[in-house]
């Protein structure tokens, strides 16, 4: 459980986060969305005790992060996978973290295997691709077997296999009852991974809502050889019908089952009945005003 309460963070005269309040609940993947400069990374840094809030607070499991003795066992974080000193090996990089949080050596070795870096465990990180660094960052985040995870753009630089791996990993972790907060710019990926969304813009909350409400069925596309008759019948049954450019009908207020039954009663042939939802990308663009942050 992550609680952000009335959080405000100013950098000089710039307000990066402005009275932001939201909760991230366990057992689901919460996507954290917003245009560049919306305050996502700042919010994550405040949650992790890296930036001091100007006012308000951010708590993890009811406590401030910087009061935790062994934080890696409670919260796993991946902020910037590039932030690794190149001279170290994955083994050395994870070992000092494990030592600082009293995590066993076995766990270091098993995490390296789990993220698929066993073959390069003793190679210097300097030669790693961004994808390999992301895997190392994930290993660090999961090292302490934490109940809460914060990941900032974890799929950047990953190949399709890696993207799929992260998606399944995060969904699995949430299914185990963990709290997962994930930020990403990739809408299609977010749509597949997240159950719930927190959308911010200019440091303020825009939406805090389940994914299925944002992508709920908007209308049904219907095609028929007797479109005019069908339109009349649908209107009579209480539907709102609009002609589409491609010759089909956009129907609101009736679901596919009702439309099918109605067409059968009037003996009107149907060529297509497709329920259509807004994509996350469309909804996001509408909510954030076209994507421009400022």
């Amino acid at each position: 459980m992550i609680e952000v309460r009335e959080l405000t963070k100013r950098f000089g005269r710039t307000v990066a986060v402005d009275g932001l309040t939201f909760h991230v609940k366990p057992g689901r993947v919460t996507g954290f969305l917003g245009p560049n400069g919306a305050g996502k990374s700042t919010t994550m840094r405040v949650v992790l005790g890296l930036d001091r809030p100007s006012s308000g607070e951010a708590l993890v499991g009811g406590r401030r992060y910087d009061r935790m003795r062994h934080p890696m066992r409670e919260v796993g974080a991946l902020l910037d996978a590039g932030a690794v000193q190149g001279g170290r090996t994955p083994l050395a990089h994870l070992s000092w973290m494990a030592r600082a949080n009293r995590i066993g050596r076995d766990r270091v070795v098993s995490m390296i295997e789990q993220v698929g870096l066993a073959g390069v465990a003793r190679k210097r990180v300097a030669g790693f691709s961004l994808g390999m660094r992301q895997r190392l960052g994930i290993a660090a985040a999961l090292l302490g077997d934490p109940a809460v995870l914060l990941l900032d753009e974890p799929v950047n630089g990953l190949d399709p296999d890696g993207v799929r791996w992260i998606r399944e990993l995060l969904r699995g972790l949430a299914a185990e009852g963990r709290t997962v907060l994930l930020s990403s710019h990739l809408m299609s990926e977010m749509e597949l991974t997240a159950d719930h969304l927190v959308i911010i813009g200019r440091g303020r909350l825009i939406a805090d809502t389940p994914m299925r409400e944002l992508t709920a069925v908007r209308d049904v596309l219907v095609r028929s050889s007797r479109a005019d008759d069908l339109a009349a019948a649908l209107s009579a049954a209480g539907g709102t019908v609009a002609a589409e450019d491609g010759g089909g009908l956009s129907v609101r207020g009736l679901d596919p089952k009702e439309i099918g039954e109605l067409a059968a009663r009037h003996a009107i042939p149907l060529h297509e009945v497709t329920p259509r939802g807004a994509s996350l990308e469309e909804t996001y663009m509408r909510l954030t005003g076209g994507g421009a942050g400022r």
Partner: protein
């Protein structure tokens, strides 16, 4: 605190710069041995009556002077690299108590610097004894090791002081370039400037410069250095502590206040 110390030790040990700096110390000792051999050649080339005109700077002190800068740079790199890569944020998410991180870094750097400094001085002394033998060359002490040990320990302590100064400057400036420039100023430029200040201020200021403190702490003075020798051993120790404590306090305050 033990966990933080162990973690910082692992970090320092696996930092590439550490190997480089320790390699430089090895080169310094080899250079000192070469100097000893060259001094012996010169000494033997002189007619016996003129041999006492040849004076060579004390090789262990010269080695210490170079080790001071090398380990001060190590002190800088123990922290500046984390700022350069952004890993400092990882460090503070792993160990959220910043005061504890600074203390652990300081502890590890101080011990490594003291041990390396002592090893450099002792190795230089041993090489010098082997090469010079029982020849009497001015500037090279022929006294027993037990008589010289107080000076050697004081010199090693000053290496630790320089290393901690480097670490604190790196935390304060968050930049390797700025911190190393400041260090070189204190280590080399400041003594030259102070030497040209009118008396008696040249000696007064020279006595509290970091490079002049080890000799005063051991009570042997600074026969060949630019510094003064006005301080009692206890006063020299106090000034040495101040050269660390003041920057350390500033670093701790900045670290606690700043966003990482």
């Amino acid at each position: 605190m033990i966990d933080a110390l162990a973690a910082e030790w692992l970090k320092l040990r696996t930092l590439r710069s550490t190997c480089v700096v320790l390699g430089v110390i090895g080169v310094v000792v080899a250079l000192m041995a070469l100097l000893a051999w060259y001094a012996v050649r010169l000494w033997e080339g002189l007619p016996p009556g003129q041999r006492d005109r040849l004076e060579v700077s004390s090789l262990p002190e010269l080695a210490n002077w170079l080790a001071s800068l090398s380990l001060a740079v190590l002190g800088v790199l123990a922290c500046s690299g984390e700022y350069a890569t952004g890993m400092i944020r990882t460090t503070f998410t792993v160990l959220p108590s910043r005061g504890r991180v600074l203390a652990a870094k300081a502890g590890v750097v101080a011990v490594v610097a003291f041990c390396t400094g002592l090893a450099a001085v002792l190795a230089t002394w041993a090489a010098g004894r082997l090469i010079i033998g029982d020849r009497v060359i001015r500037g090279q002490s022929a006294e027993a090791l037990s008589r010289q040990m107080p000076l050697f320990l004081a010199l090693s302590l000053s290496v630790a002081m320089f290393a901690l100064l480097g670490l604190c400057l790196a935390v304060i400036t968050r930049s390797a370039v700025a911190a190393i420039a400041a260090l070189v100023a204190v280590w080399y430029v400041l003594p030259i400037i102070v030497n040209n200040v009118p008396a008696p201020w040249n000696e007064r200021i020279g006595s509290v410069l970091p490079g002049a403190l080890a000799g005063q702490l051991a009570g042997t003075g600074n026969p060949q250095s630019l510094g003064g020798e006005l301080l009692s051993p206890l006063a020299a120790l106090a000034v040495m502590v101040a050269w660390v404590a003041v920057p350390y306090a500033l670093a701790a305050v900045l670290l606690a206040r700043r966003d990482a």
